[in-house]
Each structure stands twice: as C-alpha cells, then as structure tokens.
Amino acid sequence: MLAREGLLATLTGPLLERNPVTLQILGICSALAVTTSLDTALTMSVSLTIVLVLSAAIVSLIRRHIPGTIRLIVQIVIVASLVIVIDQVLQAYFFDISQRLSVFVGLITTNCLVLGRTESFARSNPVLPSVVDALGNGLGYSLVLIVIAALRELFGAGKLLGHVVLPLAEEGGWFTPLSLMLLAPSAFFLLGGLVWALRSVLPEQAEAPEVTPPEPQEPR
C-alpha cells in the first residue's frame, strides 16, 4: 500500500508541484517553438512522453551494466535511437504535422528533460518507479505545452484544433485575432505569466532574492 502511494506521488508530483518546465527549467527549448497550434503541441507532447518513458525504462533496465565514465554517451545513443524511430513513424503516418514540426522532433534528442530524468532518476532506480517518474514528467511537460498552445491558437487564430471557436471579424463574426500571439515573443510572455501565476498559487516555489538591497541611509 505504501509503495503504491509512493508511486502515485511520483506520478502526480511533476504535474504541478515539481513541474519540469516551470520549476526545473528543463526542456523549454522545444516547448515554445511548437506551441503556435494545438495539434503540433499535442504531437510533440505524445512523442516526448513516449521517448521519455522508453528511454527511462531502457536506462533503468541496464543501469547495472553501464560503466559510469561513458554513461552520458550511452544515454544519448539510446535517446537518439528512440527519437529516430519516432521521427520515422511521424514521417510515415503524419507527414503533414512532421513537416510543420521540422527539426523539433529531432531536437528531442537534446531535450534537457529526457537526459535530466534518465541521469537523475532512471540511472539509480528500478524499472517501475523510473517509468512512472518519466510518465509523470512527460505529462507535466505536456500540460504546460497544451495550455500555452491552446491560448496561442485560441487568441491568435480564433480556433482550437482547427475548429472555429471565436468567429473571426473578417468572416462575419466579432473576434479580431491577435497576430502577436502567433509570433515568438508571445510564447515567452505566456510562459512567464504561467510561471508567475503558478508561483503565486504555490509561494514555496518562488526563488529567493539573489541580493538584498542595502538599507537606505539617513540623509545627513
């Protein structure tokens, strides 16, 4: 029973409290570029979660056989091979989305989130907890991606997954799209706002000030 609660905490912890993107700054490299529309973000989330879970399982299975000195190379090779498989599958069955994701599927290889989890968790834990931890982190990453992508697509184009939600003014509706939402800066602003909101709700996540300002001196 206790073990099951531990697993549950491993799974749900990374969703909000220890979210890999907003708290640990892992894996944002690819998180922002694919969020202009919801379907690319969903594809990216699914791909990343699959790679993360499988690489955690493999690394955890052979963790006693990897020499410490070359473990990074071994992990990178495992991750890169999995990414190649995912990339080929996407090109074969979802060619359209794979074209729009361009290089970002390949960049899952260097996603700090994958290496971070295999290095810090899967390398020193049995298979089941590693897989659960990877799944939790993958879902936490997906959650952030989907929230940002939904906001950007909704306000940038008035659509969700290609379906019109807010009728556009040009087509007889009332909504004028904010084209800024489709450009790069808005992803930064939205993620910054999300981090701010999350840390206001969970104040223990806020970072301590790096320097304390000197006390104001009395004018002489």
Binding site: T22, I25, L26, G27, I28, C29, S30, A31, L32, A33, L72, I73, I76, V77, A80, S81, V83, I84, D87, Q88, S102, V103, G106, L107, T109, T110, N111, C112, L115, L183, A184, P185, S186, A187, F188, F189, L191, G192, G193, V195, W196, A197, L198, R199, S200, P203, A206, E207, P209, E210, V211, P213
Partner: protein
C-alpha cells in the same frame, strides 16, 4: 559580401537561435545571471557552432545523404535517417577535442569557461544548427557562415540578457515573478525587438 554576408546577418539577427527559434534556451536562461559567464558561454558557442555545422555538412553530404555512395557504385544507399546519431557523435567529439586543446594551450581561457564546454554537447542550438543545415541544403561555405552567424547571435543575445538581469537584481519584483518569470518576460521583450531586425536584412 553578397549572399554570404546576408546569410550571416540573417542567422545572427533575424533567425536568432534563442529568441526566434527558442533553441538553446536551457543554457540561455540558466547561465545568464552574470555578464562574465554569459560572455564565456557566448564565445564557446561561436567556436563550437562554427566548427560543428560545416563538419556535419561534410559528413552529411559525403556519407549520409541519398546518393552519397554513388562513387562506390551504390547510389541507392540512403543513410539520412542516421543523421541524428552521426551529428550528436560529432558534436560530442568536437566539444571534447576543443576542451582538450584549450586546456593544453590556453589554460586561462579554460579556467574561464571550462564548465560550460561539456554542457554544450546537449545544447539544442548546436544540434539545431546542424539540422537546419540539412533541411535548407546549405553547401560547405554557407554552413560555415551560418554556424558562425548563429553562434554570434546566441552570444549577443545571452550577453544582453545577462546585462539586463544583473541590472534588475536589485529591483523589487513580486515574489512569484522573481528569477525565472521575469527572465521569460525579458526574453520576450528582446524577442520583440529582434523581430524588427527582419526588415534590416533586405529580402
């Protein structure tokens, strides 16, 4: 000048790696607290990208690309699906080699940014540069210019961001915004500024 010069400016300003493609953000955000470390990271990025993108171009065009084995009578071999493994391997080797050379001949520089060099192996911007090179079919000279330009753009952006952050370290921000939150918003504003460079390079 001409096309190559335009490509350099384009890679440095318009297609800035962290600010318009979101590549390399992990190190971009984590190592931009102080201008001195940011400068070290930037110089390392210029060196590594200037080396790896052309080297990967050579590997891709002579070994991996469809038809690259035509001289051996096997034009049907297409190894391009192996590009990720080959690129990552070459980047890791280059970074390792660069670190050893710098440690041997320039110990002062090595002490300045020694810790960042190994980290660059898993830097999205470096691998991304090589993948863009494949996608856009750059030749050798173009990929050299593209690599140097992207590295210079990264260096410029990270030094600027670290300067703003060290300026802001005394600012009285709301608790939730301190650290990561405000850095994202700063990066967003810089990205807004950089997007106006798009008009600078004549299309």
């Amino acid at each position: 000048m001409g096309d190559l010069g335009r490509l350099f400016l384009n890679a440095m300003f318009v297609e800035n790696m962290p600010l318009s493609f979101f590549l390399g953000l992990c190190t971009f955000l984590a190592l931009s607290r102080r201008p001195a470390t940011a400068l070290g990271l930037g110089i390392a990025m210029i060196g590594v990208m200037g080396l790896t993108v052309p080297l990967n171009q050579l590997i891709y065009s002579h070994v991996l690309a469809p038809g690259a084995w035509g001289w051996a009578g096997r034009p049907d071999i297409d190894l391009s699906y192996l590009n990720l493994l080959a690129f990552i391997g070459l980047i890791a080797a280059t970074v390792q080699l660069l670190e050893m050379v710098i440690e041997r001949f320039f110990p002062a520089i090595h002490a300045a940014f020694g810790v960042f060099l190994p980290l660059l192996t898993v830097q999205c911007a470096i691998l991304g540069g090589s993948l863009f090179m494949v996608e856009r079919r750059y030749d050798l000279s173009e990929s050299l210019v593209f690599g140097l330009g992207s590295g210079a753009g990264f260096a410029l952006a990270v030094v600027m961001l670290s300067a703003i952050r060290s300026r802001l370290s005394y600012a009285d921000l709301p608790d939730g915004l301190r650290g990561l939150g405000i850095t994202f918003i700063l990066a967003g504003m810089m990205s807004l500024g950089f997007s106006s460079f798009a008009q600078m390079v004549a299309q």
